[in-house]
């Protein structure tokens, strides 16, 4: 049952990503600023902590493939990236467990690195030619802000759907 709920929420968050992407790019003071939402990836990373890493890997394969086939020009980028980042998260989380602040930092940094990884692959394939500094100022930083906001929403959903709630917060 929990697996089905987690799956449905991942599905919904995928469309939350699409929705947020409609507002971007915004033109602020003559420059185009890009906000790249990554609610789905954040959710999958949190699932790897709160539910099970195996489930996370499965989710990232399914949704990564879906994203690739639906809106991707280059196949495999999302599938491979998501699985790799779930494994990173899993490794990182042996070190600091159950510390909220550390976890938020790790998730947000992984989101940042994920965007950089996609930027790197597109640069490698010569599909985009944005200078690295422009990338950091106009894409990476604003996306990090947006994702920090989305993180609150995703964190609540992840808590509600996970079993931690029953173990740690039984009396609330």
């Amino acid at each position: 049952m929990r697996a089905i709920i987690i799956f449905l929420f991942s599905f919904l968050l995928m469309y939350v990503d699409f929705l947020f992407a409609e507002f971007s790019p915004m033109t602020l003071g003559g420059v185009e600023v890009y906000f790249v939402p990554r609610a789905l990836l954040m959710f999958i990373l949190l699932v790897s902590v709160y539910a099970s890493p195996q489930m996370s890997v499965l989710l990232s394969v399914v949704f990564g493939a879906m994203l690739d086939l639906y809106i991707g020009s280059i196949y495999g980028i999302h599938t491979f990236g998501m699985v790799a980042f779930v494994l990173f998260m899993h490794t990182a989380f042996r070190v600091f467990h159950k510390d909220f602040v550390a976890m938020a930092f790790v998730v947000l940094f992984l989101i940042l690195f994920y965007d950089m990884y996609i930027f790197f692959i597109y640069r490698l394939l010569d599909m985009v030619n944005l200078p690295a500094f422009d990338y950091l100022a106009l894409r990476a930083a604003p996306s990090l802000l947006l994702n920090a906001l989305i993180f609150i929403l995703v964190f609540i959903i992840a808590l509600k759907t996970s079993r931690i709630r029953k173990e740690v917060l039984p009396k609330h």
Partner: protein
């Protein structure tokens, strides 16, 4: 960190990278059809997205109609004035069209310029926002095939890259994938001058056209159209206007910088152009 790089994991990661490279190669290669598995997955995503989007679109349309009703009276009068000339123009158009058809049949030629258009709505853009590609809500079932031209009301903007059952994936002219050697003609004082699209200059937001013959006399403001010589594109789809002409680095030919007519940032409704199949036989 040791656990991440033990032997099994190392193998899995290396294996994953190899698969990634194979997939990248597969997607860059020039394919002319879409596999059933791709079609199914993309259609499932598109279908569920349309369901989720429906209530949001409904709410959005209420707000737009409220906003539009404020200047409706003014607009109504302006449109009425235009409308009075319309019946005469339509009659003329029909007469000319039949006449054209008769003459063409008499000559037994098929026009490279004739085409039919299919209306479609943009349903999603990639949240990555790296490549400005998008998905539309019409697919193979509506007669869309890979390689067809996609236009807005202003001009050409892209090509259908993958046609699924009920949705299609469109690549923009501004991304390097779809502009490979798209042949264009530039109209200068009634004469076509041929060239092909090289790249999209992201700093100046202009399309670069190469291999234009020297001393062509191109000037600012000349119109750029598709030539109909390559692929499924009919002749005469408007792309943009020339902004600047330069000699290339060897002085053998000229490059033109072109301002695209279609607005690539804000696409909502598009037309997919189906070329008249009779003209493609030769």
């Amino acid at each position: 960190m040791n656990r991440l790089f033990n032997r099994n994991r190392m193998l899995i990661i290396l294996f994953g990278i190899i698969i990634l490279i194979i997939l990248i190669g597969f997607s860059i290669s020039d394919r002319s059809s879409t596999t059933k598995a791709e079609q199914f997955t993309a259609d499932a995503a598109a279908g569920s997205q349309m369901i989720i989007d429906a209530p949001l679109n409904f709410a959005g349309s209420i707000f737009t109609s409220i906003r539009q009703s404020f200047n409706a009276v003014e607009e109504n009068e302006r449109l009425k004035a235009q409308l009075e000339m319309l019946p005469q123009m339509q009659a003329d158009l029909e007469r000319l069209e039949t006449e054209n058809e008769e003459l063409r049949e008499a000559l037994e030629v098929s026009s490279k310029q004739s085409y039919e258009s299919i209306n479609a709505r943009v349903i999603s853009r990639s949240p990555d926002q790296w490549l400005d590609n998008f998905t539309i809500d019409k697919g193979e079932a509506d007669g869309i095939n890979e390689g067809m031209a996609v236009m807005t009301t202003e001009g050409l903007i892209g090509t259908v890259a993958r046609a699924n059952g009920g949705s299609s994936y469109v690549e923009m002219l501004t991304t390097s994938v779809s502009q490979n050697n798209l042949s264009v003609e530039i109209m200068h004082e009634g004469n076509p001058i041929y060239g092909n699209i090289r790249e999209y200059d992201t700093e100046r937001n202009l399309l670069v056209i190469e291999n234009i013959k020297n001393r062509s006399g191109l000037a600012r403001g000349d119109e750029v159209l598709t030539s109909g010589l390559v692929g499924d594109y009919p002749e005469g789809l408007l792309i943009g206007t020339v902004v600047e002409v330069q000699n290339d680095e060897y002085g053998l030919s000229q490059n033109a910088y072109v301002q695209m007519k279609g607005n690539v940032d804000d696409v909502d409704v598009v037309f997919v152009i189906e070329r008249n199949p009779e003209s493609m036989e030769e």
